[in-house]
Symmetry: D5
Subunit: 126 residues, 10 copies
């Protein structure tokens, strides 16, 4: 089941703001209604706070394990997106964070959900 404690962070290497994007194209969870698997791509974009302000980045291997912890969880698209946003915002306290999930189609409809934490600039939302 999803486990935010798997997330590890490390100090940002700079006081200058910069933007990090991680794209995980191999995400899967389970539809809570039908029990069938859902597949999607999870994109994170965030600006760590500066080093002197205690800013941190998420460690990549821990992020992989955290995302894998959704594998057999029955959970809706919207809830996955908000859960990842909340867990990462809590773990990193970034200047801002965007979480975008892009789901393969079901019944001829494919969906994209975007959730934010903090003042994410408009150009990072798409």
């Amino acid at each position: 089941m999803p486990d935010a404690k798997l997330l590890e962070v490390f100090p940002t290497p700079s006081d200058t703001p910069f933007v990090i994007e991680h794209v995980a194209e191999e995400f899967t969870s389970v539809c809570p209604v039908t029990g069938h698997p859902d597949f999607g791509t999870v994109t994170l974009r965030f600006e760590p706070r500066g080093a002197k302000a205690g800013g941190v980045c998420v460690e990549l291997k821990s992020l992989k394990l955290y995302l894998q912890s959704f594998r057999n969880e029955g959970i809706y698209y919207e809830a996955v997106t908000n859960a990842i946003r909340d867990d990462l915002a809590a773990a990193m306290k970034p200047a801002w964070l965007v979480v975008k999930t892009d789901w393969k189609g079901r019944g001829g409809i494919r969906s994209v959900i975007r959730a934010t934490s903090g003042p994410a600039p408009a150009e990072w939302l798409r």
Copy 2:
């Protein structure tokens, strides 16, 4: 015939604003003049109101059935687009909503219609 009562909603999972996009690539209706079928893609983008404000999301299976109810309806591109916008705005009362319909060509001309409800940010119109 198009039937807005098919649309079902569920409460938004968050108080933080977020953006949902659904893309239905298998839409068909009928040209009211020639009786020939029209084919297109319908894209919805909206921001539900916050959970405490009673915000809701459209349920995906009900959206599929609603869109299928246009299958044998004789109706113009512009009217389809405005009808979907009106029905979804009434059903969800979202912070804002964009409906975009992208039609396969007829007579060497293909068309894209975009209608909005509420203050849709410019970056979501395209």
Copy 3:
């Protein structure tokens, strides 16, 4: 319902063998089990017999109307493909004929069915 009598033909303009391909990207029928619409692309490839041998080509508008006659028919992928092959083979008696149907995904699986009539060369099967 599918109506082979809609198909009209006209004499081939040449005694030299040549190959005709028609691609109809806007095909729809209905799943006989779920009642949900299916969408696909139908590709025909054939070589009319020579003019002196009475060879004929299918007329394009009649082909469009014939394919539209499947719109509200409950019928499986495999049966659609074999029905179109049989109806066109009967109407044109071509030197050979390939019918390929390419279906949008259902439940994460998309399908392509190919049926032939007569000695279709291998390079026209894919």
Copy 4:
């Protein structure tokens, strides 16, 4: 020869502003200097005035016939673009209008011309 009287309009179905895009990929006219044909794509984007303000949309078949009336006209790229803009602005009196013509290459140079009428938002110019 180009004939603006071919353009027909119909009342917009809504008081809410919305945006219509028509893309005609099969445009041809003739170079007035060399007599050789030019080929291009004509894109229209416009916002009709609201229904209560007497807003109208261009009818698609009449638009096709109007664009075909340039077929054997000797006329420069820039003049085509401004003529279409002027004729459509006169016929529809839209809130705003963008006309974009995208020409196949000549002598290793391909050209794109964009003309506007009224306050077209920047995001619709590209």
Copy 5:
């Protein structure tokens, strides 16, 4: 765990040979060494025996459930491919069968495995 008994078949609708292709882009299993998930696309191509010879086709929903039964199985690429080939060949006894698995990269290397049963024509192998 993988369960061939999930596979269901139905009689082929024709005596004329034809070719069926199913592409499942949402396959996942687990690496038996690292325990990390593997993701890939599974493509089946086969020719059912003729109807009079008792030829059958695999039913799509049962195929989906069968492929899902690999979800939490620790198994190598090569073994997945051979297992699917063996199970489908046993269930359908087709004239010929090709199973192709196309795996997302691991450590900068991505792999494609192809296994066959019966005299699969060369043009269906790629």
Copy 6:
């Protein structure tokens, strides 16, 4: 109207067989039934006979003018293709010749016609 006398040829520069392909993406003629313009791409592939055998190649500017002579001709797809094949075969007497015409869609169906003269190798037909 189509005028084969516009075609000019020049001697092939080699006795060794070689293959020439010309692709004209800006072809237009007129539908003889509706009077609406048709647009397509014309592809020629041929092997000139050797220089000592009097082999010739078609001159590019004359080919352009010849193809332009169809601009206002009312003529079917199949007839265009066979006419170009016949005119070029007569003008060049090549070892073999393939003419392929690829037409933009009409009524949701797009067509490709291929005609040959002489023993065109299978790999040049597609």
Copy 7:
């Protein structure tokens, strides 16, 4: 050698501002250090001043000859871009002008240079 006198202009056909883009994909000059040829694409975008203000457009054939005059010139990427900007700004005195040069790779690095004259809107810089 580059020769700005090759550039010819003609009066703009409109008082309404509009935007012209010319893309020349077949530009070549010579590296002043190695003597090896450089290849790139030159894109111009500009808004002519209004007709009453004496606005002019560059004539396409003269532009082609002007760009060809760099063919055997030893000159750096940055200098090419600034030279074209200066020559065209002097010849047309446009409301604004963007010159973009996009160079094929050298040593694994490819470069894009953009220079402007006048208040070019940000959306035309990319």
Copy 8:
């Protein structure tokens, strides 16, 4: 090991601001944890100060050698990006600078890091 002294500069050819982009698709360094090589694309975008203000551009061959100096260095994605930004900002003192690194996937996650120096316009960040 990374060596900023390899970077050479030359005077900007213009007082008008302009924008330079260099894209190096063949960057490689080493993961400091696993010792395995990392591969990515490094994109630089910057505006040199004007010529009178002493503005300079980075010389391309020196840039290539500088980027090659990371080849066997054990260093994190984020540190590479900030190091290149710092070294180039120190060498050129540009009006502004964007460094973007786009890394091939590891464990199913691919990353993009963007760092800036000075007031980089938002449209150059993506």
Copy 9:
């Protein structure tokens, strides 16, 4: 330096012939003349001998380490390709083997080298 002893194999899981393809997009070695790095993609395709005949497959992690052992080796394209072919043929003794190396451009020329061992079918060479 290249080290064939890094290659490990495991027994093939089947007696039925099947085809394995591994694509390593992150290959790098060094040009023996200039000392600059070369980058390319290495593709292997092979058919292991049957299990009863002692057929084996190359283990993926050992393949990765083997390919990495070329990282700082000065070696020509043709020699790399033949070396990999020889080492893998010796390690696996496959029914047949194709090694294809696809190199990024140098001086405007990019190269593809293909070497084989045993009777590789023509359709696997491209």
Copy 10:
């Protein structure tokens, strides 16, 4: 002017037949009629004779200089192709050789010429 003496060769590294492909995307010569530059891509494919039979490969830098020697030569497409084929066949005496030239469009027609020396397998001609 074209200078075959620029071509240098080196001994093939293997007795086993293998296939080499070089693609030069930056070729330019001059039209002998109009004096305007032509641009194209030159592709070579060949199999060197075995090492013991004295087989050789063309050296890449010499190939680049040889192709550059056409830069200001007035020469037809067909003659370029046959000249390169003849010069390379003379320099390398390969088992077989294919030369393909792919030219940017002129007057709306683009051309591809293929010439061979020796028994080039059909799969290498396209």
